[in-house]
Every structure is written in C-alpha cells, then in structure tokens.
Symmetry: C2
Subunit: 184 residues, 2 copies
DNA sequence: GTCTATAGGTGGATAGAC
DNA sequence: GTCTATCCACCTATAGAC
C-alpha cells in the first residue's frame, strides 16, 4: 500500500483513540518502522496531516452513506447508526466527534474541514428524514435539518460515553431509542 | 481567595475549553502571575491537579442538583438541562464531557473519578425519571437508568457540537426536544 | 509559599547525505 | 523516500535559596 495511506491509517486510529493532541509523529514512526523525518516528507506539518485526515474520512463516510440503498427511511437510519456502531466496536470514536471536542485547539484549516463534515453529514440525514416523513414512515416535529442535528449530536455523545465506559450497549441502546421515537 | 482554589478555577476553565492535554502549568502560571514551580507546591503533579478538578466539579454539580427543588419532574429536567446551558453560554464544555473524549490518555485516578461523576449524575436523573413516571407526568419505555444514560449522552454530545459550531441554539433545541419527548 | 535555576524528556520541524 | 543529526520550543517536575 502507498506510504501516504499507511500513515493516514495509523494517524486516523491514533486520533480516534487518543485525540489530535494525544499523539505525535513519533507514535506513527514507531508503528510504521521509519523515522520521524520520513513522515515529514509525506506530511510536512502536523496540521496538514490532520486536514488530510478529515478530508479522507469525510470522503469515505459520504461514500458509505451513498451506498445505503435500503428500502425505507427507518432501515436507512438503522444502517446509518450501524456505521457508528461498527467504528465503536473497533474501540474507536468517530474521528470528527473526537476532533469536535478538541475544536478550540485545532488549526484553522482543520476547523473548517470539520464543519464541512458535519454539514454534509446532516444534509444526508435531513434528506432521509424528509423523505421518510413525506411517505408517512417517520413522524417528527420541526424541520428535518433540526432533527438531523439532534441525531448527530446524540449519536456522537453516546459514542463518546460508550467508549469511555467500554460498553457498546450504551451506544446501541441510544441509537435504538432515537430511531424508535421517529418511527410511526 | 485561597490560592488552591484560584488554581483550580483557572485549570477548570482551561480543561473545559482546551482539554486536559491542551493546557500546561505555564498557562495557569501566566494567568495567576506566579511561576510554574509555585504551582507544583499546591499540586505536585498534573495528574493530581486533574483528579482534584473532577472531585470538586462533581461536588459542585451534585450540590446544584440537590438545590433543584422544582415542583414537577418536567421542571426539574428543565432546570437540569439549564445547568448545562449556562456552562455552554460561558463558552465552556462540561468538564467531564471534555475529559470523556480524552479518556484513553488520562491517568488511572482521573478515569476512576470520571466514572464516578457519571454514575452519580445518572443516579440523580434516574430518580427524577422514576418519580415522574410514577406520578404520570412522564412517559417512557424501559428502565429509568437507561433513559438517564440516554439523556446524559445526548446532552453532552449536543453541548460538544454546539460549542464547536458556536451556536448555543444547537444545544437548547436538543434539550427541548428530549424533554418534550418524555412529557405526557 | 514563592522564587531561580535546572534537569530530563518530548514536541514538531529542517538540513543535507545517501 | 529514507536516513542521521540537529534545532529550538515546550513540557512536567525537582532542588534549594529566600
């Protein structure tokens, strides 16, 4: 595999488990078996590595959403929550949920990409919600966009607490409850 | 005011805005107008400072909960969410929500105190939920304890995203929705 | 309690050889 | 692309004078 990708893979896991301020080039270098200096050839500054991390993550995430071709809105929401659950079962936090906590300390470029991730994430969700309500499969008050933001917030928070308690069930319980509440 | 308390005040704000790995003794020393060495007289190690931070925060938080003498369950829940909202309006994250994100990098002693905070927090909530359901003021499926964990997760997550978007309304909207859903 | 001074380590980052 | 060597800033922490 391309070295750039392997670096991103290791860095991604580190951010998801320890945060952007919780890892260093030394950590990646040790796992990869190269020197820190080599890493700077691929990603000159840590800020650039961080930005690339978000861009790639968003791209993969949106591709996963686009691949959800389930029949109904409820099924799509379950698949959506399932993506989070899979990450959690691997012992990780959502990359962007983790970065949201560290938001104030992040380089400007990373903050911008982060907002974009949530923007696109909620756009997809709002679309599913709107279609589901129109077809009568879902029921909720207010704008789809507001409910989308509600869902993202709750799932990210549940993921964070489930991970620190080492109980995936804390997440799945929340996800089930959220979707049930929207179903007619 | 006692120096210990002033140090804790400054450290608390720093953790709530930048995280435990996002500040140093130098930051506190600068704000307080003393040297880093002086801080070590009060809190020999950063891990001890962090532990004291959680202990004091939990103590103040539980005292605030105990002071909620509102008439009904719904009013109590609104006051509960209001505590979070006030912190957020001050530009801060919940201390323990922030630390939950950094959980994997925290000293063992801090991890233990953190779990205790959420334990007590959810215990209080579960009590309110149970009473509210018994009196018919609230309606929900499943164990009160499970709903309590759901509420904490969702509020912490909403707080985190509201802060990174610099939109308090993202939090208040979620809080309103959660409480409305429980009301009969 | 607070200071100066300093230790010992790690952080991100660069120059230049291979 | 990867290495050695190195820089400098910053980190947590301690010793010992005042």
């Amino acid at each position: 595999m391309a070295t750039d990708e392997r670096i991103l893979d290791l860095a991604e896991r580190l951010v998801q488990t320890r945060g952007f301020n919780g890892f260093s080039y030394a950590d990646i270098a040790a796992s990869l078996g190269v020197t820190k200096a080599s890493l700077h050839y691929h990603f000159p500054a840590k800020a650039e590595l961080g930005r690339s991390l978000i861009v790639r993550y968003e791209s993969n995430f949106l591709a996963a959403l686009a691949a959800i071709k389930a029949q109904g809105a409820v099924q799509r929401l379950k698949r959506y929550a399932g993506i989070y659950a899979d990450v959690l079962r691997d012992g990780r936090m959502c990359l962007c949920g983790m970065l949201a906590a560290e938001y104030a300390t992040l380089p400007k470029a990373m903050q911008k990409e982060l907002k974009h991730f949530f923007e696109e994430n909620e756009r997809w969700l709002a679309q599913v919600l709107e279609e589901g309500r129109r077809s009568g499969e879902l029921e909720f008050a207010g704008a789809p966009r507001e409910v989308a933001s509600f869902l993202v917030s709750s799932l990210e928070g549940a993921m964070m607490l489930a991970r620190s308690h080492d109980q995936v069930s804390r997440f799945t319980s929340v996800a089930r409850r959220l979707i049930e509440e929207l179903s007619t």
